[in-house]
């Protein structure tokens, strides 16, 4: 099967979904003739027209608020926030409004909308083009939050997102866009929202992660396997709300050791929640503390290249943490 990059997987999924369902339309900044700043919609306005590929004014709150209004009135909008760092003006319409429409109307209205959010660092983006913004979304009842790390998952999960009858925040790690290649066939498969995936089997340590860190973790796992014979089982969360506690706990019950690796800062974060799940429900399986690899508690992340590199959890740092945990 042909390999493609993650951004290609996103683009081809958007294209085939747009072809399949005329109720789907896209809106966002520069998604028209420019094709989006990451080219996720390259060629779309030519194929689908300006009515279904709407170049919006620079106004994120209205992008989400308008998508929400269209969603409750029979459409399936796919909104793009150009960079995660610019999602903050839209929080009110997303977390405050969209998340609660079904519950607050007792099912009278509901909002089948997908908000695509390119996020993450390691791209020389400095303080305002590198942020991870998953925490608030992953905390909010009424939202579904997806963060695929491979083209296969991006394709299967973006299909599920667009077809869901409730709002989805779909996080695409910018660094993975062109870095990660893999199979993502055009047949109509979906991946389930809310299911983690074992990306590497192992019996010594369970490593739970998502996004770009999956790839750093896979490298780290090979390093410690070769250097120390430690076999790491890698759980790719894929969905951050709801978190798949079952898969995590299954893995930890086999290994007795849990390490959570995350690009976002650690305090009050997804890695906290995964740890809390294990500490509550997997406690008697544990042979060692639940450890985390998080970046430092500073604003993500410096523009300076050496500092940026230092900021990101690297395969080496992750490998060290695996070794330390395996030794306890």
């Amino acid at each position: 099967m042909p390999e493609m990059t993650l951004i290609e997987a996103v683009r081809e999924t958007l294209r085939s979904e747009m072809r399949r369902d005329p109720d789907i339309f896209m809106m966002g900044e520069d998604i028209g003739p420019r094709g989006g700043v990451f080219l996720a919609s390259e060629g779309f306005v030519e194929e689908f027209g300006e009515d279904r590929v709407i170049n919006t004014p620079l106004a994120e709150s209205s992008i989400i608020g308008i998508a929400l209004g269209a969603a409750v009135n029979g459409m399936r909008p796919v909104a793009e926030i150009q960079f995660a760092d610019f999602v903050w003006p839209a929080i009110n319409q997303l977390v405050g409004e969209a998340a609660r429409v079904r519950y607050g109307t007792n099912g009278g209205k509901f909002a089948p909308m997908t908000v695509r959010v390119p996020y993450g660092g390691g791209v020389r983006g400095g303080l305002y083009h590198s942020q991870s913004i998953e925490v608030l979304f992953a905390h909010t009842p009424g939202l579904q939050v997806i963060a695929p790390a491979t083209p296969w998952d991006a394709r299967g999960l973006l299909r599920s997102a667009i077809r869901s009858n409730d709002p989805v925040v779909f996080l695409e790690h910018k660094r993975t866009y062109r870095l990660v290649r893999g199979e993502a066939p055009d047949d109509d498969y979906t991946e389930p929202i809310g299911k983690a995936d074992i990306k590497r089997a192992g019996s010594d340590v369970s490593l739970i992660t998502y996004g770009l860190m999956l790839h750093h973790s896979l490298q780290a796992a090979e390093m410690v396997s070769q250097s120390d014979g430690i076999e790491t089982e890698i759980v790719d969360l894929r969905t951050l709300r709801p978190i798949d506690a079952e898969t995590i706990l299954d893995s930890v019950s086999n290994t007795g050791r849990a390490l959570i690796v995350q690009e976002d800062t650690g305090a009050v974060s997804v890695s906290s929640e995964v740890s809390a799940i294990i500490a509550a429900e997997g406690f008697f399986d544990l042979d060692a503390p639940v450890m985390r690899v998080n970046p430092p508690e500073i604003p993500p992340m410096p523009f300076s290249p050496l500092q940026e590199a230092e900021y990101m959890p690297s395969p080496e740092k992750i490998a060290d943490a695996i070794r330390r945990l395996a030794e306890i």
Binding site: A59, G65, L68, G69, G74, Q93, E97, Y103, G104, T105
Partner: protein, 347 residues
């Protein structure tokens, strides 16, 4: 309140705008009476400790019935906020439905008593309000209108908002987008000169909200919201424009908020006696009553009949609703997301 106006001589030469008849006016006035009676009852229920909170529509009644008359409830859409009690009644909701919101009773039809009164959505008319967060409905209304335009439907969306909401960034963004895409939406501002306690001059440096329409390439109309006919005309023009594909309009209805912001508020803290006195002259019920009487549309006995009927309706609804239980506790756990087994779907 009505004695002096009932003395006015009858003038049957009233020139009614297109679509407005004496019958429609009379029926609208009847709804205004119902709304007022219900409103007073709700306030009382709050003072009795039975209703947790209430915002009143008193002062806004004429503007709201005019709005509904100028639209078509069988196909139009209404994004309300908490102050549209009269409009919801005019749209065909019942006093029982409304009261069970305030008393949070089982079967409450807009939100299953999850939300504050006048929030949720209605099963019979497309009226809804997702949240208490002031201004959020404006971009949402624009999105609703965008969907209708995309689907070539001839629905018009009415976005109610207050003068307070006009300061929100969302208001700017919404009107701008509607202007760009010529969407079938009417931005309907009920300007009562206060956002809770903040008077207009501390909210904006201009006199008129409607004047901002030019920033968005849409027409703006300012109208006396206690004048039911003028309000109807202005809104009708806006609705017609929207329905015929000529885009949005900003309509500003000048009204008075006759009571404090909500039952939690005390407006003597921030309104002068003069201001309070002045506003009493702008009560749309006696104003409309006088208008209809002056033109021979309403006579004293019909008026008394209406008011008696309204009291009776409200009494009945109160008895009915007070007898209802609170919603079952277990219901709170469901419906955050679509239930795996079926549920709603566009398909």
């Amino acid at each position: 309140m009505t004695q002096s106006t009932s003395q006015t001589p009858v003038d049957t030469d009233l020139n009614l705008p297109d679509g407005l008849t004496a019958e429609r006016l009379l029926s609208a006035y009847k709804t205004m009476c119902l709304s007022r009676a219900l409103d007073i009852r709700i306030w009382t229920l709050n003072r009795q400790g039975k209703a947790a909170i209430a915002a009143s529509a008193q002062g806004h009644e004429a503007a709201q019935v005019a709005t509904v008359m100028a639209t078509d409830p069988t196909r139009d859409r209404y994004l309300i906020y908490y102050r549209q009690l009269t409009a919801t009644l005019m749209l065909g909701t019942t006093p029982t439905e409304m009261l069970s919101q305030f008393l949070a009773r089982d079967g409450e039809i807009l939100s299953a008593a999850r939300q504050f009164p006048l929030h949720g959505s209605h099963p019979r008319v497309d009226l809804f309000s997702f949240s208490n967060v002031v201004g959020t409905q404006l971009p949402q209304a624009v999105g609703v209108a965008l969907a209708d335009k995309m689907k070539n439907r001839d629905s018009v969306t009415i976005s109610f908002f207050g003068d307070g909401a006009a300061s929100q960034g969302d208001c700017h963004e919404a009107m701008n987008f509607a202007g760009i895409h010529k969407l079938p939406v009417v931005f309907l501002c009920e300007n009562n000169r206060y956002a809770i306690s903040v008077p207009l001059h501390q909210q904006m440096p201009v006199e008129s909200i409607a004047s901002r329409a030019s920033s968005y390439g849409i027409p703006g109309i300012e109208v006396d919201g206690t004048d039911i006919i003028a309000s109807y005309e202005a809104i009708k023009e806006a609705v017609d424009r929207a329905r015929s594909g000529n885009g949005a309009t900003l309509v500003e209805l000048r009204v008075e908020r006759l009571l404090p912001h909500t039952t939690d508020d005390d407006h003597t803290r921030y309104r002068s006696q003069e201001d309070i006195d002045r506003m009493r002259d702008l009560d749309p019920i006696p104003i409309t009553e006088a208008l209809l009487k002056r033109h021979g549309i309403l006579d004293e006995s019909t008026d008394q009949e209406f008011k008696e009927w309204a009291r009776q309706e409200v009494d009945n609804a109160t008895d009915e609703v007070e007898a209802l239980p609170f919603p079952p506790i277990g219901e709170m756990y469901t419906g955050v997301l679509e239930e795996p087994t079926g549920g709603n779907s566009h398909a």
